[in-house]
Structures are given as C-alpha cells and as structure tokens.
Amino acid sequence: MSWALHRVDDRLIHGQVVVAWGHHLRPRRIWVVDDASAASDWERDLLADAAPGVEVKVVAVAEGIRIHSEEAAAEGPALLLVRDLRTALALVEGGATVAVLNLGGLHYAPGRTKVNDYLYLDAEDRARCRRLLELGVKLEVQDVPAARSRSLLEVDPEIARA
C-alpha cells in the first residue's frame, strides 16, 4: 500500500502537497529525501511542523535508498518528495523502484527553459529525465491532483529530440 506518490518539487512540503495531495491521498507519512535538509535539525523540525497530522521523515539520499523497499511494504499511503531531478535519479540508480515520477514543481532559475508555469528544465535536467526514462520510470507532469496528468514527453518536445 505504501508509496502513493513520488514527487519532484523544489518547495518540498508546501500547500499543494499538504492541502491538495494530502486531501487526495491521505498519507500517513511524508518522506523528504534531501541531503541538505537531513543535515539540519532546524530544517527537519520546520518540515515536520509544516504538515500537521502527518508523520514527516527527513532523510539523506543514502537513507532514502535504504528504506525505500521497506517502506513500500508498510501500512498506509506514503509520499516521497525530492527537491530536484539529481536526487530523483540518485534514488532510482541506487535501487529504489519508482514506476511513476511526478514532476510537480521546478521553478525558474537561470539556464532553465519553460515547459509550463511550474516546470522549467535545463540541459542537465533533461539528461537526467532521459536517463530516468531509460530506466523505465514514467515521468508525469502534474502540480495538483485536480489537474490533468501529462507525460513529459508530450509537453516537452526537447526531451524527445535528443
């Protein structure tokens, strides 16, 4: 039952996750896999407080890989959040089984080009996306559950061109 959503979102825990996905999936646990956040007691506490009523676990990538299959067999739905595609690819290459990766929020930064209002990718991001596709991960673009989910291949012609 466990994994209900694997999501790339540079805001990590925020309104769309807590309110929209939280209401839709009713997660028991949210795993934030992020080396920087896991290294800071203060950041871990902040993220834990941001989702009232849900157990929030903040772990480094190595720990995220270690717990992934164990959590997959756990009771109740769980969400996994990473802030970037580098971390998502590290998880999958490290052995995490991810069938579908939700691309929910990578906002503008210099060097990135627009895919839609909440998804901007640079050349390295696109290379990571291609690698994830090669590894059998479906890449779905969707910010909130009420929006239509679309394949990245459909909305970003640059991915298919390479």
Partner: protein
C-alpha cells in the same frame, strides 16, 4: 513606540486583493508590502522575503495565508534569527484591519498575539432562523 512593519506573503494575488479590501474599509493604506509566491522556488521566495525584512531592526510581522504553505515555510526560514519578527498564518480581513488599527500601539510580539486572538474570534457562525 515604533510602528510595527508588515509584509503580506500569500498565494497568487490574495495579498493585493486583501489590501484592496482593507483600503475599502479602512481608507488609504500605506506602509505594507506585498509579495506573491507565484512562480518562485523555495530559495527564490526565501531570498525575496529576506530582502524585504532586512531593515526591520525592531521586529515586524510576516502575514501569510495558511500553515504549511510555502509562504509560511519560507517566511520562517527567511526570518530565522530575527527574534522579534513573527510569522502569522491564517490572515483574514478582520485580522488585517486589526493590524492597521493597532500597529502603532503595540510591539511586534504583543501585536502578533492580538492578531491571533482577533483571527480566531472573527470566525463565527450565524445560523438562519426557521421560517
């Protein structure tokens, strides 16, 4: 008493809309800045908030919409270490009006407590009467 400064950090154009609504009741409003989280990553929003509160040497209030949203989370991160800046979530029009009426009478910590109470009191139920 120094005036307590405030920054509205909210989703979409809610901050601007609340300020317009407040002006319709209170009169012209000055001295409040507004920031939307639209299109901003966590780092970018934190940077923008930090830039706005940089000069708040006597504290201030970050007025945000809901607990757990990026406006709240980034507000807490950006104001870390500023003991007299308080992040207030769940802002509504009565709370904003109360801030405007009292920002010259209280310090930031006392004013934040007052706004929390005002916000809670402002949500009331008025049931319809049976015919």
């Amino acid at each position: 008493m120094n005036r307590v400064p405030a920054l509205l950090v909210m989703h979409s154009d809610l901050g601007q809309a609340l300020l317009r609504a407040a002006a319709a009741v209170y009169g012209p409003v000055e001295g409040i800045e507004v920031l939307s989280n639209d299109g901003l990553s966590r780092e970018a929003l934190e940077r923008q908030i930090a830039g706005k509160v940089e000069g708040w040497t006597h504290g201030g209030l970050l007025l945000t919409d809901f607990w757990g949203g990026s406006c709240h989370v980034c507000g807490v991160s950006a104001t870390r270490g500023h003991g007299d800046i308080v992040v207030v979530t769940g802002l509504n029009l009565p709370t904003l009006l109360d801030y405007l009426h009292n920002r010259d009478q209280y310090g930031s910590l006392e004013l934040a407590d007052r706004l929390q109470k005002k916000g809670r009191e402002s949500i009331r139920l008025h049931h319809g009467q049976p015919v």
